[in-house]
């Protein structure tokens, strides 16, 4: 059996996973430069170690209310402090995902992943490609090309 290292992160009340080999780094997130005309789920551009990186707000991508609305006011600003950008490399593209929090790096057995129930695939618009249960916790493996809108690049 082989196990693959994954970076896990939270968005809303679910925990997601991406293969650590796709992750360049984790950065704290403050704000992004809004790009008028870009898809609504694109939070904008950030500069990470001198590189321009487009970032996707996963809450918007997943159809959740914006973070600001769900955690208003200074007392709740812990939420803002916890937010992270998971910087990914996919082929020649580099992009970031804004997530509610990201701390854990976890080895997950390849066999632990199962195809999610059809209704979940449908409901998440194909963003979730597998589910793994480790120590009674569920991790949703995301389909990065789909989230990054690979179809955008192919006309």
């Amino acid at each position: 059996m082989t196990a693959t290292l994954h970076v896990t992160f939270r968005v809303g009340n679910a925990t997601y996973a991406v293969a650590a080999s796709d992750v360049l780094h984790l950065e704290s997130y403050d704000t992004a430069t809004h790009v008028p005309g870009a898809p609504s789920y694109v939070a904008g551009l950030v500069q990470v170690r001198g590189r321009l990186v487009p970032v996707i707000d996963l809450r918007i991508r997943f159809g959740l209310p914006p973070a600001d609305a769900s955690a208003p006011g200074p007392p709740a600003s812990q939420a803002a402090i916890d937010r992270r950008v998971v910087v990914l490399q996919l082929g020649t593209r580099v992009a970031g995902l804004v997530v509610d929090s990201a701390r854990e790096v976890l080895k997950i057995e390849d066999t632990a992943f199962e195809r999610p129930p059809e209704i979940v695939v449908h409901q998440t618009a194909g963003f979730v490609k597998a589910v793994a249960t480790v120590a009674k916790r569920m991790y949703l493996l995301v389909d990065l090309p789909r989230i990054l809108g690979e179809e955008l690049d192919h006309g």
């Binding site: 430069t33 008028p36 950030v46 500069q47 590189r51 487009p54 490399q89 020649t92 955008l152 006309g155």
Partner: protein, 678 residues
């Protein structure tokens, strides 16, 4: 020299440059010849010939074409003599020089056609060596006092002679700067520019003014000018009395002495004939067809056209979407549109590629640098250059080289140990500096400068800087700190520091890249730089709109003005998306769009400024909240499809570490106008 670099890589560059220099040398020689016909000398042209030949010699040496080196060397010697003698080149010398330059041109052509160039003809070399450089040159010896003559250089003497031969008298002016003069704005600078309008300044020589007791009273300038202006005007120009303007020599008696030099049949060929003869020879067939030089502005023009094409593509997309909404079958139409989209992207890539230069060529000077540094520091150092087939934008290349020079120089100066020390450590006597370059994901280039030297002594640097250094990243921070230089540190033990702040500034701030360091004591150090393949430097206006800062190239803006009132708003057709208002500007009605509304970021703040652009003859204005300033920025392409949108041309950093968008108002203007028009 590095074994890994193929000489062939430089041949293309050599051919282009040498061919240009041959052309320049020919042009200058012909100008000197024209001077002969008029009886004047052309010291500047002589100098140009000298420079061209000197450069050709150096280039030919680098690619090892000895035949060209030999001919250029002979000519260089000949022309240096003429240059030292005041820039007069005899007709015989011009003739032999033209022959020599032609022989060089033939050999450059041979190189470009990958033939072995013929050896330098011994008869030509002999002819060059035996030619009298200055012999029969037009001798219009100026009759000036011996005292003045002694102060003039040969070329100044020739300049004086030429000016006087042209019919103007020469004057010696004495200008004494003083507080009262300065108060009236009369300084040596203003005097110079004033005199330059009245005639030709030959020499300005400062001299100390001493009082009767020998005490220094101040400084005065002797200015030798040739001018037809009246003496009074000259005196006025230096704010002094007539006594300060002394005639030096009167113009020579006209025509007779200035009779044209013989140019009849049998005499020297005239300039015209020479030029024609040159046209008739193979010299005019261009050398090195494979490479041409193109003004960057022409490539910019291409990019401009491309952005127009992009706009019309957006329009096409909209039409297809509208048809689909109306229930038409648009599958085949969409296939074509998709194909066109890919072709547009390919075109954009092709245009970017046209701005690329080979990294191997860019870094080539490092070989010479290492060779000379190694010699002066008496160390054996070998440079390995491995740039493979990487290429990068010309603008990046120009900025990159100084950083690489710093890194390589530091490695030779501080990292590589003296031979004895290396022997004692069991290392090969010759140190190795390796510069490797690979293209990595995200349109970036990774450059690694590594050495097998002594490594950096962290502990010593930590003591010195009074900081704890846990990682190489901390170490790099200290090394790149302002004011940290090897002068502050015991060089032998601590390694580098020299100019590291400059290296980081270039890599990170100027190029938007990153810099890393890894060092192992005793084994060596490597610096890794990641930089984008393309950048462009643009002067921009920064402005605020909808709580966001943007910049726009200064070149795109025709005018910026305060909006006194909101203008008038013509009635809007039903379903019209954006509103156009009309502004009166110098008797013309200009359509104005709200930029905030165009970009859908309007926050209701009152727009106070309007920026006018012109596209295809018609002016269009955009209203924005307020202007923030004007500065030069590095514009970086945004190529990820997630953030490509009409009117967004790229991003830059205004210094706050956040991206600021660069707008293409022309594209937005077109898009807005097309939306308005049916």
């Amino acid at each position: 020299m590095t074994e890994r670099v193929d000489l062939q890589e430089f041949i293309g560059g050599f051919v282009v440059e040498a061919a240009e220099l041959v052309t320049a040398a020919n042009a200058a020689l012909l100008e000197i010849e024209a001077g002969h016909a008029e009886g004047t000398s052309r010291p500047k042209a002589v100098r140009d010939v000298f420079r061209a030949l000197h450069t050709i010699k150096g280039l030919a040496g680098m690619v090892g074409v000895e035949a060209i080196v030999d001919i250029a060397h002979g000519l260089e010697t000949l022309i240096r003599t003429a240059d030292r003698a005041g820039g007069q080149l005899s007709r015989a010398a011009v003739e032999v020089a033209l022959q020599g330059v032609r022989a060089i041109g033939e050999r450059v052509r041979a190189v470009s056609e990958q033939r072995t160039p013929a050896a330098a003809p011994p008869r030509l070399l002999e002819a060059i060596a035996s030619t009298d450089a200055t012999g029969d040159a037009p001798a219009v010896a100026p009759q000036v006092s011996a005292e003045l003559d002694a102060r003039l250089s040969p070329s100044e003497r020739a300049q004086l002679a030429n000016a006087v031969a042209a019919g103007a008298p020469a004057w010696m002016l004495s200008f004494a700067p003083s507080e009262s003069n300065a108060a009236r704005g009369v300084t040596i600078g203003s005097v110079r520019s004033r005199l330059a309008t009245l005639g030709e300044i030959v020499k300005v020589a400062p001299r100390t003014v001493t009082g009767p007791s020998g005490a220094q009273l101040g400084i005065a300038f002797d200015i030798l000018v040739v001018s037809s202006a009246p003496r009074e005007t000259l005196a006025d120009a230096i704010a002094a009395s007539l006594e300060s303007v002394a005639p030096v020599l009167a113009p020579p008696p006209p025509p007779v002495a200035q009779a044209p030099l013989p140019a009849g049949p049998g005499a020297e060929p005239s300039t015209r004939e020479l030029a024609e003869r040159d046209d008739a020879t193979a010299d005019v067939v261009p050398i090195g067809r494979a490479v041409i030089r193109v003004e960057l502005s022409r490539l910019d023009e291409l990019q401009e056209q491309l952005s127009l094409l992009t706009v019309s593509r957006f329009r096409l997309e909209r039409e297809i979407a509208a048809m689909a909404d109306a229930g038409h079958d648009v599958r085949r139409l969409r296939q074509v549109a998709d194909l066109q989209g890919r072709q547009l992207r390919d075109l954009r890539r092709a245009i970017l590629r046209a701005r690329m230069v080979r990294v191997a060529e860019v870094l080539e000077p490092l070989s010479l640098l290492v060779r000379s540094l190694a010699r002066s520091s008496e160390r054996a150092v070998r440079l390995e250059l491995d740039a493979r087939d990487t290429e990068l934008d010309k603008a990046v290349a120009d900025r990159l080289l100084p950083a690489m020079v710093h890194l390589v120089r530091n490695a030779v100066d501080h990292a590589i140990e003296p031979a004895a020390e290396r022997r004692a450590r069991g290392k090969p006597e010759a140190g190795t500096i390796r510069v490797a370059c690979t293209e990595i994901a995200g349109n970036q280039l990774e450059l690694v400068v590594s050495d097998d030297g002594r490594g950096i002594d962290r502990a010593a640097i930590a003591r010195r800087s009074e900081r704890t250094i846990d990682h190489d990243a901390d170490l790099l921070d200290v090394l790149c700190g302002p004011g940290f230089s090897t002068r502050d540190v015991a060089t032998r033990t601590s390694g580098r520091g020299l100019g590291m702040d400059i290296v980081r500034r270039i890599a990170v701030s100027d190029l938007g890249g990153e810099l890393r360091l890894a060092t192992t004591p005793g084994a060596g150090t490597s610096f890794t730089m990641r930089i984008p393949l393309t950048i462009s430097i643009v002067e921009v206006f920064a402005f605020a709109c909808g709580r966001q800062a943007f910049v726009v190239p200064v070149s795109a803006i025709e005018e910026i003005f305060e909006i006194a009132d909101a203008g008038i708003t013509p009635p809007s057709a039903p379903g019209g998306r954006s509103q156009v208002s009309l502004l009166e500007r110098r008797g013309r009605a200009i359509p104005m769009f709200s930029l905030g509304r165009e970009l859908a970021i309007d926050d209701g703040a009152a727009a106070r400024k309007a920026m006018v652009i012109r596209r295809g003859g018609e002016a269009v204005a955009f209203s924005v909240d307020r202007m923030l300033g004007r500065q030069e920025v590095v514009v970086r392409a945004i190529d990820d499809p997630l953030v490509q949108a009409p009117g967004i041309a790229g991003a830059t950093d205004l210094g706050d570490g956040r991206p600021t968008l660069v707008l293409d108002l022309g594209e937005l203007g077109l898009a807005a106008r097309e939306r308005q028009l049916p």
